[in-house]
Amino acid sequence: MYNDKEASKIVDIIKNFARKHSLWIVAYGTGCGAIELPPTMTSRYDAERFGIRGSATPRQADVLLITGYLSVKTLKRVIRTYEQMQEPKYVIGFGSCTINGGMYWDSYNTIKALDRYLPVDVYINGCMPRPEAVISGFIKLQELIAQGKADGAKRYQENLEWYRENQRKVIKNWRMPEYNW
């Protein structure tokens, strides 16, 4: 017989298995990365093999894709979208723009490091990453989920003040609803 701890461990394994193999993405089509998604999803690369599927609204989604550079104006909406998602939720940053600003490194209106503002679980580098890279990024995310390491949502909750401080520094006129989990 299993004791409680082991039983809950088994439940966790089942949960993580399901989460791993069912990633519903809400693709926030910023920048040029959005155009890499159609080939990723369609016949050639067929991301649905891995249980990756588009979802229409953040309420239903698990993964938030940031597909390119984020202007400050868009960042506000992205934060809102992220906060509307249900836990557990993951963020994947696409391309060098989300990592270090990419070719927009000196722009007056785009942020240069996404993980200062949202807890990124996986970065996919490239400018833009090709569908193979995108899929490999998703597989990396799946590995993290299976190991229980994809804890972006938890990080966000715990360090909410730090994230908020960064967000407020960029977004001048802060008119956002409270995020009180």
């Binding site: 193999h21 093999r49 229409a56 309420r59 989604a61 698990d62 998602m85 836990e87 989990w181």
Partner: protein, 302 residues
């Protein structure tokens, strides 16, 4: 009080079987769609994984009591529909309560879920949900009319409104109602396309247009419950159609074969067709299906 074990067994196992079959069929749809589009496609149990994942979501939100209860209404309707349909012919376990209800009751209980769901979607306050509901209800009026015509033709022809009596009539495959009254079948199967909500009649949940419509504010356990309900309801509708037109099934293998064939009709139609606008789909339902329905009734009369 005497305990009727076969009833209890039926109550416990029918929804479970319905869920498993419905989920597998849902996964199969995705595989078939993928193959038609020259893709490999997800595993066949993908929908099950999706549902487990949705239930295992840690946080959930709702906008009020009606949104909380909306999916519950939906699953109540699905399971009740299932209980009032004889799943296996002449089986003591899987006939459930089908002697206590009839076709007209089924027609109404099938709408019960949509109405409850619509109320839930309405409370979210999301305009997309309301648009979806508006479209869904309009389309409902469209396909219910030919469906009822087909049922009326059958009810008058066989002088019964109970499914078990209809099953008793179809004791040999030459006596299946699909052969006895083909026009009724045509009208009903075209209405069935609308009932299943696949393309070209999927304007209700148009994901890119109105953000999946009614369920656009549902996530986590609520969405999981909705998908569960949808799986059960799919199976219930398939069994209903099998019972009415294809002579039911006396064992599970036959049931699976018959329901699968029926299920492929909307699925394959859905793969190859684009989407109708709401008024176009209503006009469609009120043209050919209605025509077949009228012929079906006229054939019975004369």
């Amino acid at each position: 009080m005497e305990i009727n074990w076969s009833t209890i067994l039926g109550i416990i196992f029918t929804p479970i079987i319905a869920f498993i079959v419905g989920v597998t069929y849902g996964g199969l749809t995705r595989v078939i769609t993928a193959r038609v589009q020259n893709r490999y496609g997800p595993p066949i149990f993908q929908n099950l994984l999706d549902i487990i994942k949705l239930y295992s979501k840690e946080s959930n939100i709702n906008h009020g009591v009606m949104q909380h209860l909306g999916p519950v209404f939906a699953i109540t309707a699905s399971v009740t529909t299932l209980f009032f349909v004889p799943v296996i012919k002449d089986s003591t376990v899987f006939t459930n309560f089908s002697f206590h209800g009839d076709l007209i009751f089924l027609l109404y209980i099938m709408v019960f879920g949509s109405l409850g769901m619509a109320l839930g979607a309405g409370q979210t306050g999301n305009p997309n949900s309301a648009i979806g509901v508006s479209r869904g209800l309009s389309q409902l009026v469209g396909y219910e009319v030919p469906f009822v015509m087909a049922l009326v033709a059958i009810m008058i022809q066989f002088q019964t409104t109970n499914l078990n009596d209809l099953l008793a009539v179809q004791d040999h495959f030459t006596k299946w109602i699909i052969f006895q009254s083909p026009f009724a079948f045509l009208a009903a199967i075209l209405a069935f396309l609308g009932m299943m909500g696949y393309a070209p009649f999927d304007v209700v949940i148009a994901p890119a247009e109105i953000a999946s419509g009614p369920p656009s504010e549902f996530g986590g356990k609520y969405l999981g419950l909705m998908l569960t309900s949808r799986s059960i309801f799919t199976f219930a509708k398939l069994v209903l159609f099998t019972d009415i037109f294809l002579g039911g099934a006396s064992d599970f293998i036959t049931l699976l074969i018959k329901t699968f064939i029926l299920y492929m009709i909307p699925v394959l139609t859905g793969i190859v067709f684009p989407r109708y606008r709401t008024e176009q789909s209503i006009r469609f339902f009120w043209s050919w299906p209605l025509f077949f329905g009228i012929i079906a009734i006229l054939v019975v009369v004369f």
